[in-house]
C-alpha cells in the first residue's frame, strides 16, 4: 500500500471523526460520508498496485488486484444509498422542528432527575426544559 493512500485515508478519518462529533445532523452526514470515503480508500489500497486489470493486456503479475476495487465499489453504492436516507431524515427533522440538531434521550434525563432531591430540582432550568418537551409528558414525582 502506498504511503499517499494511507495518508489520505488517515486524513479523511480524522476530519470525519471531528465532524461526526458535532451536534448538527448535516455535519454528521458529511462526516459519515468522509469516514466511508476513508474506509473505501483503505479498501482500494489493500490490494496489489499495477496497470488496469483488463484480461489479455499483459501478464497477470503486472496488473492491479481487481478484487478490492470491486469490493470498494459495492461499499460505495451502499454508503450512497444510506447517505440519501440520512439526508431525507435530516429534512424530515427540519420540517418538524426547523432544526436538524441531534437531541438527547429525554426519557433518560427524566429518569436521571427522578433520583435527585426536590430542592435541587426546584430551581433547575434543565427540568423546565424537560417538562416542556415535545411529547408533553410530565416529570414523574
Amino acid at each position: 500500500m502506498t504511503v499517499l493512500l494511507a495518508a489520505t485515508a488517515a486524513g479523511l478519518f480524522g476530519i470525519g471523526t471531528y465532524l461526526v462529533l458535532q451536534r448538527k445532523l448535516s455535519r454528521i452526514i458529511i462526516g459519515i460520508a468522509l469516514l466511508s470515503h476513508g474506509a473505501n480508500v483503505l479498501m482500494v489500497g489493500s490490494g496489489r498496485r499495477g496497470r488496469a486489470p483488463i484480461v489479455g493486456s499483459g501478464d497477470a503479475e503486472s496488473l492491479a488486484d481487481p478484487l478490492p476495487q470491486a469490493l470498494a465499489l459495492t461499499s460505495i453504492v451502499i454508503s450512497f444509498g444510506v447517505t440519501a436516507l440520512l439526508l431525507a431524515l435530516a429534512y424530515r427533522s427540519w420540517l418538524l422542528t426547523s432544526d436538524d440538531e441531534v437531541q438527547d434521550d429525554l426519557e433518560d434525563e427524566r429518569i436521571a432527575h427522578r433520583g435527585a432531591p426536590d430542592d435541587d430540582l426546584a430551581g433547575s432550568d434543565e427540568l423546565a426544559e424537560i417538562e416542556g418537551d415535545p411529547t408533553g409528558e410530565e416529570v414523574e414525582p
Binding site: 500500500m1 461526526v20 445532523l25 454528521i28 459519515i32 469516514l35 466511508s36 476513508g38 474506509a39 473505501n40 483503505l42 479498501m43 489500497g45 489493500s46 490490494g47 478484487l67 478490492p68 469490493l71 459495492t74 461499499s75 451502499i78 454508503s79 444509498g81 444510506v82 436516507l85 440520512l86 431524515l89 435530516a90 424530515r92 427533522s93 418538524l96 422542528t97 441531534v102 437531541q103 434521550d105 426519557e107 433518560d108 429518569i111 427522578r114 415535545p134 411529547t135 409528558e137 414523574e140
Partner: protein, 500 residues
C-alpha cells in the same frame, strides 16, 4: 439440496419486488409476504434436517471456485438460527397484520419487512466476510426505514442516533475488511481460517479486536450498547419485537462465527470475553431496573441477555458454546414473545408507561398470562426454555471453574426477575397512579375478550407455547446444540465443504 441454501435469501427479495408491484392492494401484499415467509420457514426446517444428517451444505454463487467466488454455506449453527429467525419473522408478520395502526398499512411495509428477512437469512448463510457485510447492510438499511416509517418526531430523533451509530459500525467494518484483505489476500472465511493463523500475533489480535468492536456495536455488548435502549422503544411494537429478536442476534452470530472459525485455538480472548459478558449482563439489568416504561425495560434487558450468549462463547468449550446456541434460541423466542405481549399491553391499556397502567388482570386476564409465561422463561424458571439454557450455561461455567462470571450470571437472573415482576405487578395488579391519557380508556372491552385482536393474540400465544415446548423438549435440542458447538470448535467439515 443446494437450492435450500440460496432460496431463503432469493425468495424474500422476489417477494419484496412483487409486493411493490401490487402496492395498490394490501390484501395481495399480505398474501405475498405470508406465503413467502411460510415457504422460507419450510425450507429452513428442511435445511436443518439435511445439515444435521449429512453435514454442511455449500454453494458457490455464480459457479466461481471458493476463494474468489461468493460462498454460501449452511452448517448446524446457521441452520438452527435460520429456523428460529423464520418462525419469528412469520409470527411477527401475522401480529403486524392484526395490529390496527397507520404504519403497518404503509405501502412499503411488507416489502421492507421482506428485505429485512432476506438480509437476516443472508447473514446466517454466508461464508464470506464481505458478503456478511453486504447482508448486514441489507438488514440494517431495511431496519432504518422500518424504525422511522411513521416519520413522527420521536422516531426521527431516535432514528438519527440509531442510523449514525450503525453507519459508524459499517465504516469500521469496511476498514476491518481492508486490513484483513491487505494482510491475507482473501475475505473468504474458510480460506481465512487457514491464513489468519500464519499472521504475527500482534496483527492477529488487532484484527480480532476490530471484529469484536464492529460486531459488538451490532450486538450491543458493553460498552457499545447505549444506542439500543434509546432507539428500539420508539418503533411500532411488531417492529421493535423483530428488532429485539433478530438484529442483535445477527451480531452475536457474527461474533461467535468469526471468533471460533477464523482464529486459532491458542489465541482465543477468553478473559476479555468473559469480563465483557459479565459487564454487559450487569449494566443491562441495572439499566432495566431504573426504567419506568414497559418497552424501555424490555430493551435494556436485551442488552443484559446478550451478555449470557457472550459468556457461553467466552468459555470456548463445547458445553459453553452449546449453551450459547441454546440460549440464543431461547432468548429470540422469549424476548420476541415479551415484546409482542408488551405491544398488546400498550394496545389494551393505551400507554406503555408503568404509572399509567394498572389493574389489567381484571380487564385483560389473557394478557396477564401471555406476559407472565415468556417473563418467567426469561428469568429462568422451570419448565420454560430459560431454565434449560441458563442451567446449561452455569453448568459449562462451573466445569471450567469460571466462578466469577457464574456468580454474576446468577445475580443478574435475580435482578431480571425483579425488573420483570415490576412490570407485571404494576401493569396487572396494582392500580394506575396516573390517569390514562384521554381517548385511550374508551376501548370496547366486550369486543376484545382476549385483550386484543385475534391476529395479534395468536402469534403471542404461539411464542409463549414455543418457549414452554423448548423447555419440555430440551433433551433433543440440547443434543443438537452440542453437535452444533462441536462443529464450531472443530470446523474441519465446514472447511472441507467450502474448499471442495
Amino acid at each position: 439440496m443446494t437450492a435450500l441454501v440460496t432460496l431463503p435469501i432469493l425468495l424474500p427479495l422476489v417477494g419484496a419486488a412483487l409486493s411493490i408491484l401490487f402496492g395498490r392492494s394490501r390484501r395481495v401484499q399480505r398474501t405475498i409476504a405470508l406465503s413467502t415467509l411460510t415457504a422460507v420457514l419450510g425450507m429452513a426446517v428442511a435445511l436443518l434436517v439435511e445439515v444435521d444428517r449429512h453435514g454442511p451444505v455449500s454453494v458457490q454463487a455464480g459457479g466461481w471456485p471458493a476463494p474468489v467466488g461468493i460462498t454460501l454455506i449452511a452448517d448446524r449453527f446457521s441452520a438452527i438460527m435460520l429456523v428460529v429467525a423464520s418462525v419469528m419473522l412469520l409470527s411477527v408478520l401475522v401480529y403486524a397484520i392484526g395490529q390496527p395502526g397507520a404504519e403497518r398499512n404503509h405501502v412499503g411495509f411488507q416489502s421492507i419487512y421482506l428485505v429485512l428477512a432476506a438480509g437476516v437469512a443472508a447473514a446466517f448463510l454466508t461464508g464470506d466476510l464481505f458478503n456478511l457485510f453486504v447482508s448486514i447492510e441489507m438488514m440494517l438499511t431495511a431496519s432504518y426505514v422500518l424504525i422511522t416509517l411513521g416519520g413522527r418526531l420521536e422516531q426521527v430523533r431516535s432514528g438519527m442516533t440509531y442510523i449514525v451509530i450503525s453507519l459508524l459500525a459499517s465504516v469500521l467494518f469496511v476498514a476491518m475488511l481492508a486490513f484483513v484483505y491487505a494482510s491475507t489476500g482473501t475475505v473468504n472465511m474458510a480460506d481465512l481460517a487457514g491464513k489468519v493463523g500464519d499472521l504475527p500475533p500482534g496483527l492477529r489480535s488487532a484484527l480480532a479486536v476490530l471484529m469484536l468492536v464492529v460486531f459488538g456495536i451490532k450486538a450491543a455488548i458493553f460498552p457499545l450498547f447505549f444506542w439500543l435502549p434509546d432507539s428500539y422503544p420508539t418503533a411500532p411494537s411488531p417492529v421493535t419485537a423483530i428488532f429485539a429478536g433478530l438484529l442483535t442476534k445477527v451480531g452475536v452470530y457474527a461474533i461467535i462465527r468469526t471468533q471460533t472459525l477464523l482464529f486459532p485455538a491458542d489465541s482465543r480472548p477468553t478473559t476479555l470475553l468473559l469480563v465483557l459478558a459479565g459487564a454487559t449482563m450487569l449494566v443491562g439489568v441495572l439499566g432495566a431496573i431504573a426504567q419506568g416504561d414497559v418497552k424501555r425495560i424490555l430493551s435494556f434487558q436485551i442488552v443484559s441477555h446478550i451478555g449470557y450468549m457472550i459468556m457461553g462463547l467466552g468459555l470456548f468449550t463445547v458445553g459453553g458454546l452449546a449453551a450459547a446456541v441454546l440460549y440464543t434460541v431461547h432468548h429470540i423466542v422469549a424476548k420476541t414473545g415479551l415484546f409482542l405481549s408488551g405491544g398488546l399491553i400498550e394496545h389494551a391499556g393505551g400507554s406503555s408507561r408503568l404509572t399509567r397502567l394498572g389493574g389489567m388482570v381484571r380487564t385483560a386476564p389473557v394478557l396477564a398470562v401471555l406476559f407472565l409465561v415468556p417473563a418467567l422463561s426469561l428469568i429462568g424458571l422451570p419448565p420454560f426454555s430459560g431454565f434449560v439454557a441458563k442451567f446449561a450455561l452455569v453448568d459449562a461455567a462451573s466445569e471450567r471453574s469460571s466462578y466469577g462470571v457464574m456468580a454474576v450470571a446468577l445475580v443478574v437472573s435475580l435482578l431480571t426477575m425483579y425488573s420483570l415482576m415490576k412490570i407485571w405487578i404494576s401493569v396487572f395488579w396494582s392500580p394506575a397512579t396516573e390517569p390514562a391519557p384521554a381517548g385511550a380508556a374508551g376501548r370496547d372491552r366486550a369486543a376484545e375478550p382476549l385483550g386484543g385482536p385475534l391476529l395479534m393474540v395468536a402469534p403471542t400465544v404461539v411464542l409463549a407455547a414455543l418457549t414452554v415446548a423448548i423447555g419440555l423438549a430440551a433433551g433433543p435440542l440440547y443434543d443438537l446444540s452440542l453437535r452444533a458447538a462441536a462443529d464450531l470448535l472443530e470446523p474441519s467439515a465446514y472447511l472441507e465443504v467450502v474448499r471442495g
